[in-house]
């Protein structure tokens, strides 16, 4: 292959090299225990989705260019150049991966395939093969950060509309959606779309929280795309807002990867300590309920309720109990999925895959385990925080005719709150 291209691509691995990556490259025994862990491999049986195989493509380059044995006897490791064939397979296996890290959970050496694939994404981007859709969405978010004034008026009027809706729900004409409020304790970083703001606003207002919202959303397509610099700039938008407004705490929405980005990745990207406490909205809601700052009535939610752990929130974020405690506070009729918590099946919709039409078939096929779990639970209501999970599960719900109502957890909470206003009707 072209030597400039080769130098570029091996240079990416060199730049991304760290102890964990090196060990993952060196120690994988190719035992394939990960095969039963991956919803995509289980759902499709397609070899390229076997977690160890996804990592093996990077290992083949690593062996050839970063180890003496692989350099002298490449055949022993099937070591090879990052040529078109390799990159094409790598594109499919990397961008299809939802980053759920269920394979890491079951691996006897805890090999983090998603971490290896973050290098794969950097290689693909350097080769001009990054996913276009994710790249464009990331660039659009960065553009919005650079040209905030262009978006200001339309956003502010949108927040005013939401404020009216909140007042209708709470029945309190003084309920507010404070925008860019200096001196607020909490900056709530929502998603684009009223659905992630309205119920949160109802809860914050009823809890008497000193909160504010600003213009930037928590979703991070730079993270899915695999470009650290883009991901950092997208996150930096709301970190800068939080600094400007002088808040003490940043609260991220139900969205799974937003929490992981803020809590686990941003410090490493920005190379500076996170100056704010990062909380997930469901942590706050759980605290409000337990402290009696908001009231919820059991019995307002009908039917058996179950809960899906989004991978980035559960296995990768550690929030197993707070959402469950909330759901159990709004209903006595709760049933857990099997398996659950750290062993929860990925729904198949994470990692930005819902935004990539080309992976629709594998995405839907990979949801089969989630469908089986949901059927076995006998639940009629599903509480599901993550936006990507919800999009995926709603689609599975329709195709497999599960007859489920799929709710955000905060919508469930608002529905269970005894408020004077009119309850929003749920889809």
């Amino acid at each position: 292959m072209d030597s400039t291209q080769l130098t570029t691509l091996t240079g990416v691995i060199d730049k991304k090299m760290n102890r964990q990556l090196k060990q993952y490259m060196d120690i994988c025994a190719r035992c394939a225990i990960c095969k039963d862990a991956c919803h995509q491999y289980v759902g499709t049986g397609d070899f390229k989705y076997l977690p160890a195989r996804r990592a093996e493509l990077i290992r083949q380059i690593y062996k050839k260019y970063f180890t003496k044995t692989g350099e002298f006897v490449p055949a022993l490791y099937e070591a090879r150049d990052p040529d078109e064939n390799l990159l094409d397979e790598l594109y499919d296996s990397t961008y299809a991966c939802t980053g759920c890290r269920r394979c890491m959970y079951y691996c006897p050496f805890s090999i983090d395939t998603a971490w290896i694939l973050s290098v794969a994404k950097a290689i693909l981007i350097a080769a001009g093969k990054g996913n276009e859709m994710l790249g464009q969405l990331a660039d659009a978010a960065i553009f919005k950060g650079d040209n905030a004034e262009m978006f200001n008026d339309v956003m502010v009027s949108g927040f005013e509309d939401i404020q009216e809706e909140v007042r209708a729900i709470t029945g309190n004409p003084n309920s507010r959606v404070p925008v860019n409020k200096e001196g607020a304790d909490i900056l709530y970083v929502a998603l684009a779309g009223a659905h992630s703001i309205r119920p949160a606003a109802v809860i914050f207002e009823e809890a008497g929280e000193n909160w504010t919202i600003s213009m930037f959303e928590a979703a991070n397509y730079g993270f899915f795309y695999g470009d650290v610099e883009k991901a950092r700039l997208i996150t930096k938008r709301y970190i800068d807002e939080a600094k400007r407004l002088g808040v003490k705490e940043i609260v991220v929405p139900e969205c799974g990867h937003a929490y992981r980005v803020a809590e686990f990745f941003y410090e490493a990207w920005s190379k500076e300590p996170m100056p704010f406490k990062i909380s997930h909205i469901l942590e706050k809601v759980d605290q409000y309920i337990k402290a009696g700052r908001i009231t919820v009535d059991k019995g307002l939610i009908e039917g058996k309720v179950t809960y899906h752990d989004p991978c980035q929130l559960g296995r990768n974020g550690g929030k197993f109990e707070e959402p469950r405690d909330i759901v159990k506070a709004v209903t006595d009729n709760f049933v857990d999925l099997t398996p659950n918590r750290a062993e929860q099946w990925c729904c198949g919709g994470g990692g930005g895959i819902v935004a990539m039409e080309e992976f629709k078939d594998v995405r839907l096929a990979s949801g089969i385990k989630k469908v089986e779990q949901l059927k076995a639970s006998g639940a009629s209501v599903l509480a599901c925080p993550c936006e990507n999970c919800r999009l995926q599960i709603e689609e599975l719900n329709e195709i497999h005719e599960l007859g489920l109502q799929v709710w955000q957890v905060i919508d469930l909470v608002v529905a269970a709150m005894p408020l004077k206003g009119t309850k929003p009707t749920h889809a």
Partner: protein
Amino acid sequence: METYLWITSVWGIYLTAIVFFGGMAWRIYQWATTPKSPVRLGMFPKPKSGAGRFGKLLADTFIAPQSAKIEPTMWIFAMAFHVAALGAFVGHLRLIHEFPFLPEWLGEAGMNTFAAWSGSIAGILMLVGVLFWIVRRTFGPYKSLSVPEDYLLLFLLLGVVAMGDHMRFVYGGVVHAATYREWFLSLMTFKPEIPAELLASNVGVSLGTHMLFTDLLLMYFPFSKLVHAIGAFSSNLVRSE
């Protein structure tokens, strides 16, 4: 035969020792001097205390409970192999020094019987483990995952175990630990010699071949995926970070 033994079981061992220990030191040096991942790669549930993390590290590395849950068959065979390999390693320490207490308790005949039983069990378990892996790798639905390195290691392992078993089952009652110890201690004191008893019987061929495979396996060890033997501690620790 004497030449074969001098190559495989004297000079080969010296070379292997240099390559193995040098290679492992190089491997550890490489890992240690590569900067850590800037991102915390831990996952949940995550122990909060240092002691909890250490306990989880030991459990994950030595018992791999999650792997046991998802593929019990593989786990049983892998566990049997590794425990048997540990047992075999401990048994081989008799090459350096006779166990304390045991010979006094059991008597010479008793000790030979004990060694025969424990060695046989370990030898069979290892053989079964290796054969299981060969079959699983060759005929599993994900066999395309395997690369020549995997088969090379299994082949070398099979050679080591098969010839070790051969010595155990065919010559176990003929040549005892004391004879092997004489040979091995002469190596360790750098005055190598091969006892006449090893040359007199055909056990020399088995020993020579056992050592040939062992030399090759251990020389390749630091440059192969077998470095999971030490790397697993570090990578499993990262799980709790």
